[in-house]
Symmetry: C2
Subunit: 143 residues, 2 copies
């Protein structure tokens, strides 16, 4: 295994920055064109960059004037020469344009990364929340 | 990238066989000792083989006389020298000891695999179901 943790960790910052700026182009530049996304919400799988870009654009449009602050906790990075992986607990905290907190939500995140022209690209993303045993509802906060 | 798809695909068969036989030892032999599991149900994360083994043992005990048939659909494998990944839609179909169908459930599955002494071991597993937008409930069947 090669120690390239720093460059994978850069992705966390680039992802958070793109979401904060609601910049779909910057966010999509982190993904490989063939990305497979298992998103937490509603749909089993998105196959390929164009399908995922539509979701990202709708997500950013839905935010209106809100700012979304993304934080990654308990991250683990595993790196090889050609492939790497990152896992973490992600917190999405929505704030008003004035910076007042509105609400927040957490997900488990898995990224599979492949090296393309020297940069790590996300070839697979899996986000989810655990399912409550009693009511089958998503648990969106880690206590 | 190295073409080692066959050996990764073997894991699908070994996993299904271990679950069908309710053989916790055989199933746990597929996991690396440091595995991080983001399981679909109830708990955000299991860290390490011993924590995950407890869940597996409880799962198999809960089955009683039922047989669980596991099927992987739409699988994608990405392989490097040291790391590989597999993603798929998994169907868990419970049957009576006589082979009559009882119920079934689907999950999205992500495996991150690392090579250990020539064999692929699961260093990270992430299973989930998408969350319904309206009722926040897990969608456990892909239509």
């Amino acid at each position: 295994m090669v120690s390239s943790e720093r460059s994978v960790s850069d992705l966390f910052h680039l992802y958070a920055s793109a979401v904060r700026n609601r910049d779909a182009g910057a966010l999509m530049s982190l993904y490989h064109g063939t990305v497979r996304v298992f998103d937490a919400w509603g749909v089993w799988s998105y196959e390929g960059g164009p399908a995922w870009r539509k979701v990202v654009e709708q997500w950013f449009e839905s935010l209106g004037d809100e700012t979304l602050v993304v934080r990654f906790d308990d991250s683990q990075v595993v790196s090889g020469e050609e492939l790497a992986s990152a896992t973490a607990i992600v917190t999405y905290a929505a704030m008003t344009a004035e910076g007042a907190p509105l609400r927040s939500m957490q997900n488990r995140l898995t990224w599979l990364l492949a090296r393309e022209n020297g940069a790590w690209k996300i070839v697979h993303e899996h986000t989810s929340a655990p399912i409550g045993f009693d009511d089958m509802k998503a648990i969106l906060e880690r206590k």
